[in-house]
């Protein structure tokens, strides 16, 4: 096994035991990048020189017995919405030409302090306003979409060109590409991870979180990210849980797993449904107790998501849209322009409906510990495909389909962990999400880790 193939937790153990140096690990990932990145297009910028310098410093510290923790010397990619001092945050957009971030975002600073080594900034669907990331190819099949908007981060982790990465998630943008590329993605509880220095899509729905190869890795990264930052207006200031490494082995006795009887299995590809139901059976075999649950207010999910996201996004881009509309891609520009025509009444109705939805979800989640559901209703579609037609004749845009099952966690703010649960006949990955109560990340990580331990080890994507 080459160092670039190691999970974060395995790499950390090798570095801790001095069987692997940060220089060897970073070099291995950069060499892998030279081979496969031209075909994948996961990165906007590769910071090889800076990474090698950081790796040498990490190696010196390792030699002197000064390890900073499990992220020490581990190569990471950051979605190019996340500020890193003295580098551009392009948002994969021409609008940001010449940009230079004056200082680190909170998450970049925390990861650097934990010893992680930045190998590059990864592609996003322009300003995170889309679900495909057209610059990037799927790690399992280059003719398929990467998913988005954190497509570059998910593909990099799947292909071995980053040991872990960060993404952002406003309607599913961590979980969707994670599911489509066969990696783990965690959208934490709203406000748990500070957003200071992260370009916003829609303030009231935005999250930042880890994309990793294993659930344990997601816990290790999350631990480095949490903690109150007073510059984050939505930040939670009562977070005391700082160790997210999953515990408890594979015993899930007593865990109540909510299985939705509505919404989450409607208009879902049969192969996706079969894989997710099989994974729920696996959880049952580990001791969990499936419980049927009804998801409330599903009729209004898309309306609330759009009612919040569209006007907030337009507000964020107001000045640049006015000054240089031609610099935006066509799909993003039209949404930003149309968003200006939404009324304050529409926005307030969405915010009030969100209050109702959150109350109903709180009530529903007293009956279960986690909810298990597909992350996305279909695997990665061919690049350029714009719609999907369901067996009942319903036509849905690919973007609407990809966001449909992930948006509820953005509206309600509950945490959601996407894990790979198999592949379809075409060899494309399938994802299952586990949703929990606010701040129940340890429960999600424990359940996901137990599932992962009970399944055969996964391989990296072939990065075709």
């Amino acid at each position: 096994m080459q160092p670039y193939e190691l999970s974060l937790s395995s790499a950390a153990e090798e570095i801790r035991a001095r069987r692997l140096s940060p220089v060897e690990l970073v070099d291995s990932v950069l060499e892998r990048m030279e081979r496969v990145e031209p075909r994948l297009g996961a990165y906007v910028t590769v910071t090889a020189g800076r990474a090698r310098q950081a790796a040498r410093a990490a190696e010196r510290a390792q030699t002197e017995g000064r390890l900073l923790g499990p992220l020490h010397g581990v190569p990471m990619g950051l979605k190019d919405l996340i500020d890193v001092a003295d580098t551009a945050t392009t948002a994969s957009s021409r609008v940001r030409a010449g940009h230079r971030a004056p200082r680190d975002s909170t998450v970049a600073a925390r990861l650097a302090a934990a010893g992680a080594v930045l190998v590059g900034k990864t592609h996003t669907h322009e300003f995170a306003y889309g679900l495909t990331t057209p610059q990037t190819r799927n790690a399992w099949n280059p003719d398929r979409v990467a998913g988005g908007s954190s497509g570059g981060s998910a593909v990099a982790v799947a292909a071995g060109t980053a040991t872990f990465a960060l993404g952002t998630d406003t309607g599913g943008s961590i979980r969707v590409p994670s599911a489509l590329n066969g990696v783990v993605g965690l959208k934490p509880t709203y406000g748990l991870v500070p957003l200071h220095g992260v370009t916003s899509l829609a303030w009231s729905l935005d999250h930042v979180g880890p994309i990793t190869r294993t659930v344990e890795d997601a816990g290790l990264v999350l631990a480095a990210l949490v903690g109150h930052d007073p510059r984050d207006p939505a930040g939670l200031d009562a977070v005391t849980h700082l160790d997210y490494r999953p515990t408890g082995g594979t015993d899930l006795a007593g865990l109540r797993v909510g299985v939705p009887v509505n919404y989450y299995f409607e208009h879902v590809d049969p192969e996706v449904e079969s894989a997710v139901r099989g994974a729920i059976e696996q959880l049952r075999d580990l001791g969990a107790r499936p419980v049927d649950i009804e998801i409330p207010m599903t009729r209004y999910i898309q309306a609330v998501q759009w009612g919040l996201m569209v006007p907030e996004a337009t507000a964020y881009h107001e000045r640049t849209l006015h000054a240089a509309p031609d610099l935006y891609g066509a799909d993003v520009r039209i949404l930003l322009e149309a968003g200006a025509l939404m009324s304050a009444g529409d926005y307030l109705r969405a915010q009030r409906a969100r209050t109702l939805m959150r109350r109903e979800w709180t009530r529903m989640m007293t009956d279960v510990d986690v909810i298990a559901a597909p992350t996305v209703p279909l695997t990665a579609v061919p690049a350029g495909q714009e719609t999907v037609t369901w067996p009942d004749g319903t036509v849905e845009s690919v973007s609407d389909a990809y966001v449909r099952l992930s948006a509820p966690a953005n509206i309600t703010g509950v945490p959601s962990l996407s894990i790979p649960v198999g592949r379809d006949r075409a060899g494309l990955p399938i994802g299952m999400q586990l949703l929990g109560r606010p701040l129940a990340e340890p429960v999600l990580l424990r359940a996901g880790h137990a599932y992962e331990m009970a399944r055969p080890a996964r391989e990296l994507s072939p990065a075709a």
């Binding site: 009231s204 207006p233 309306a303 322009e337 025509l341 109705r349 009030r352 409906a353 109702l356």
Partner: protein, 72 residues
Amino acid sequence: MSAPDLTPQEAARWAERCGQPLRADRHVPVAATAQYIHSVVALLRELDFGDVPPAAAYRVHDREEEQFDAAV
């Protein structure tokens, strides 16, 4: 609920009033997209909100940024 379709002329006028004037070639596509968004969010008018307040992230006791002294 079933408001008449937004015309390109109306979209142009509204955009102007909102401070986001549109070039002439944008009137038709923006009207169509705005109409679609409207059709999605108009569903929320079915709900009886009573006294339910909007969800919002606002705390009167937010500390000032300059008091922040530890980035990590």
